[in-house]
Symmetry: C2
Subunit: 114 residues, 2 copies
């Protein structure tokens, strides 16, 4: 038998990781944030809004989906503060909340296209 200590758990690694690991709450928020991008309908909506503000019905037409389905998804995007809205009469115009979102979509696309 060699002088290897087969400790099963590598203490140094454990310690190093524990030191640098973000808090549970932050990690949870991060996963919740990315979860929003993890649905094709929401991704499509975000790409639509890259072109500027668009009303609910137009989004529904573009995605060939019911107004209700879109509205539900917009609620999620709103809650996560990825989109904002503006009222004009009966019509609601949605747009991206900030340009972080564009960066995130681009970065993801880059990874896909390698």
């Amino acid at each position: 038998m060699e002088e290897k200590e087969f400790l099963h758990v590598h203490e140094e690694v454990i310690a190093k990781v524990q030191e640098k690991m973000p808090e549970e709450e932050r990690l949870y928020q991060l996963s919740e944030f990315y979860k929003v991008f993890g649905d094709i309908t929401r991704v499509k909506i975000l790409f639509v809004l890259l072109q500027g503000e668009v009303c609910v019905y137009d989004i529904a037409c573009l995605l060939d989906m019911t107004q209700s389905a879109i509205s539900h998804q917009l609620r999620i995007l709103k809650q996560m503060q990825l989109v904002t809205y503006r009222r004009e009469g009966k019509t609601m115009f949605y747009s991206l909340a900030d340009d972080h979102i564009e960066n995130i979509l681009r970065l993801g696309m880059e990874h896909i296209c390698e």
Copy 2:
């Protein structure tokens, strides 16, 4: 009544969006890609691997989860090519596939912390 044509669908917007919209397949891949980041366990694993290569059991210890659960999630990360592995005897050491992943995690964290 004003000279507004209330067409309900805004043709110019529709046309503009349709022109610039990525293909369905790409959008699907993108959402599938982000879906991986949309689970706290996988996010935790990725943050662990930011510190370098770590074996399965150590990950399980760090996250206080069963080896089986971790192994299942590693399979998904493997399939999506977010991690690679190296065998050393009975032990498998996992590590991040490339540095894109670190960028994506950082970008997400930035957005959370605003």
